[in-house]
């Protein structure tokens, strides 16, 4: 149980998994020629680890009683992430076509800078008294940018601005990625908030929502990427694994599990 004591999951490990793991998964297909099948799969997995990182960051900041603000901070971070990610891809081209590889890193850094500005507005101008708001908003913005970049690259088949522009932005999928990644990042904690929230169970749900988003991204790349079925099937199988783990954990931690009947009598008033 994580509610009263410290978190059951080390936030630094999740941060490392999301940020470093995400960037490695995004850059590996760029640096090593893995072919048209493995590349999109790794891009999508990079987005998945970023979503899990984002879900943990949102759980940490929202534990300060955000309540109905959980979805809101999710949308805010994805808005920052989409702007930062696309601006990073485009901005890297300013230094010439040879530096296009800078795109993802620039996207994540830009998103984190915008996130820092937004969070400082919250703490300094609006006087919100949430101690870890700045750090968590920066983390969330970075996670959001990585998740959008990863899924965009999984659909387009490459991280190049031209490919993403024609197959993700022009087709309107970017609007879906915005709202789908928002759901994937904010839903785990929003669904599990309460005094007995258990971070391990929350992160199991984060795995489920992230892989579900990956399965949908696989479907969207039908007709664009050869690896669409691989991304969709890996996403669906991993989703099944995580949602099974989540449902088992829920059944174990519930006050009681019943298939019929009334609530316990002693609470009748």
């Amino acid at each position: 149980m994580s509610a009263a004591g410290g978190p059951a999951v080390n936030p630094m490990q999740i941060l490392a998994l999301g940020l470093i793991g995400g960037l490695i998964l995004l850059y590996l297909p760029v640096l090593v020629p893995l072919g048209p099948m493995l590349g999109p799969l790794l891009f999508a997995l990079g987005a998945v680890v970023a979503i899990i990182w984002g879900a943990d960051a949102i759980a940490r900041v929202a534990s300060y009683g955000l309540g109905t603000g959980v979805p809101s901070i999710g949308y805010m971070s994805l808005a920052i992430g989409v702007i930062g990610g696309i601006a990073g891809l485009a901005g890297a081209l300013m230094f010439g076509s040879m530096s296009a590889w800078l795109g993802p890193i620039m996207g994540v850094v830009l998103a984190m800078i915008v996130g820092a500005v937004v969070a400082l507005m919250g703490t300094q101008v609006l006087k919100m008294k949430i101690p870890i708001l700045v750090r968590c908003t920066i983390e969330l913005s970075g996670a959001a940018a990585l998740s959008v970049l990863g899924f965009s690259a999984a659909i387009a088949g490459s991280l190049s601005m031209a490919a993403i522009l024609s197959s993700v932005v022009a087709t309107g999928f970017i609007a879906l990625l915005f709202i789908l990644n928002t759901m994937a990042i904010q839903h785990p904690f929003n669904a599990c908030l309460g005094p007995q929230e258990n971070r391990v169970r929350t992160l199991k749900l984060a795995g489920a929502t992230a892989f579900m988003a990956m399965a949908i991204v696989g479907l969207l790349s039908l007709g664009i990427s050869k690896a669409w079925w691989l991304v969709a099937i890996v996403g669906a199988v991993a989703w099944f694994y995580f949602i099974r783990a989540f449902i088992q954990a829920s059944a174990k931690e519930a006050a009681s599990v019943k298939w019929s009947g009334w609530w316990p009598e002693e609470d009748e008033t």
């Binding site: 109905t68 979805p71 999710g74 949308y75 022009a170 087709t171 309107g172 999928f173 609007a175 879906l176 915005f178 709202i179 789908l180 928002t182 759901m183 904010q186 839903h187 785990p188 929003n190 669904a191 599990c192 908030l193 309460g194 005094p195 007995q196 929230e197 258990n198 169970r201 929350t202 749900l205 489920a208 929502t209 579900m212 949908i216 479907l219 969207l220 039908l222 007709g223 664009i224 989703w239 949602i243 989540f246 449902i247 829920s250 059944a251 931690e253 519930a254 006050a255 009681s256 599990v257 019943k258 298939w259 019929s260 009334w262 609530w263 316990p264 609470d267 008033t269």
Partner: protein, 303 residues
């Protein structure tokens, strides 16, 4: 080829019909799951010692939820239409089916997560509540996403007054957010204020003292969320559908009729905006008259 204005009016009528159905289904879907405003009271009830058998579907606000489902349905339909060249109706149904599957997964996990995370209040996790309510949730959600993607597709048809430049997934997300907002603002009162606090007189507001003391027993046995839908389907759902249908119908009708003044350039748009402005002024006056009439006829709520 028919007169473009007559053809346009036909499309507008179809869009209005789809929007009305979507609005009604959206409100009822949120009632099955106790979403949005009523959700906070369902969430609070066990902490006040009021255990219940009501579905706690804390996915997010309705606008974003519906934006996501409609976006998934619209994007998958877009792929099926363009990449596989499937017929439009079949593609939209396929997209809505995928969205319904995602919807069910999110609904289940939110109910389980919220109930289990407050286990100290002894609220049991009723599995039959989960399984019985998933059907209506998925069904109503399917109707909403099908209708929303349908009307978004109609907007992109190459007809005068339509031919929207945005791609289908983009329009589906925008209209999904809109239907969620309308369903939340118009429909919630009929569940939250009325059905959820049925043992208290209607119209008295919900003072803090009775927060969490929701109606938990039905005519026979424990109340579940299906009982709520039967109630809301009589008025809350249809009136939400009417509101959304009127919004969609009038906003497109005005630009189509605006083409009577001349179909070149921005002329239909300028005339349409003018017509819409007059309609809005009229609606404000009608709303005010109805409210004044209702207050005078039925009087304020008395202690």
């Amino acid at each position: 080829m028919a007169d473009p204005i007559i053809a346009g009016l036909g499309v507008v009528a179809l869009m209005g019909a789809a929007a009305t159905i979507a609005g009604a289904a959206e409100d009822l879907e949120s009632d099955v799951g106790s979403m949005s405003n009523p959700n906070s009271q369902v969430q609070l009830a066990p902490q006040m010692g009021n255990l219940h058998r009501i579905f706690n579907k804390a996915v997010s606000g309705e606008p974003v939820q519906m934006g996501a489902w409609a976006g998934i349905a619209g994007s998958v339909a877009f792929v099926l239409i363009n990449a596989l060249q499937l017929p439009v109706i079949m593609s939209i149904a396929g997209g809505a089916a995928i969205a319904a599957l995602v919807h069910v997964a999110f609904a289940t996990t939110s109910h389980m997560g919220r109930i289990v995370s407050q286990s100290q209040f002894n609220q049991p996790l009723f599995m039959d509540v989960v399984t019985q309510h998933l059907g209506p949730i998925a069904g109503h959600g399917f109707i909403v996403t099908f209708s929303i993607v349908g009307l978004s597709y109609l907007m992109t048809l190459p007809l005068q007054g339509f031919a929207h430049p945005f791609p289908l997934p983009f329009l589906a997300v925008l209209w999904g957010i809109t239907i969620g907002a309308i369903g939340s603002s118009t429909g919630d009162i009929h569940y939250g204020g009325e059905r959820e606090y049925q043992q208290y007189p209607f119209g008295g507001g919900i003072p803090v003292a009775i927060h969490g003391d929701i109606t938990r027993k039905a005519e026979l046995g424990a109340r579940n969320s299906m009982d709520v839908v039967y109630f809301c389907a009589k008025y809350g759902g249809p009136v939400t559908g009417f509101a959304f249908g009127a919004i969609v119908f009038f906003s497109f009708w005005s630009t189509v009729v605006g083409a009577l003044a001349g179909s070149s350039g921005d002329t239909p748009l300028i005339w349409g905006t003018g017509i819409l402005f007059v309609i809005i002024i009229l609606l404000i006056i009608i709303n005010n008259r109805i409210e004044v009439f209702a207050r005078e006829k039925y009087g304020p709520y008395k202690e």
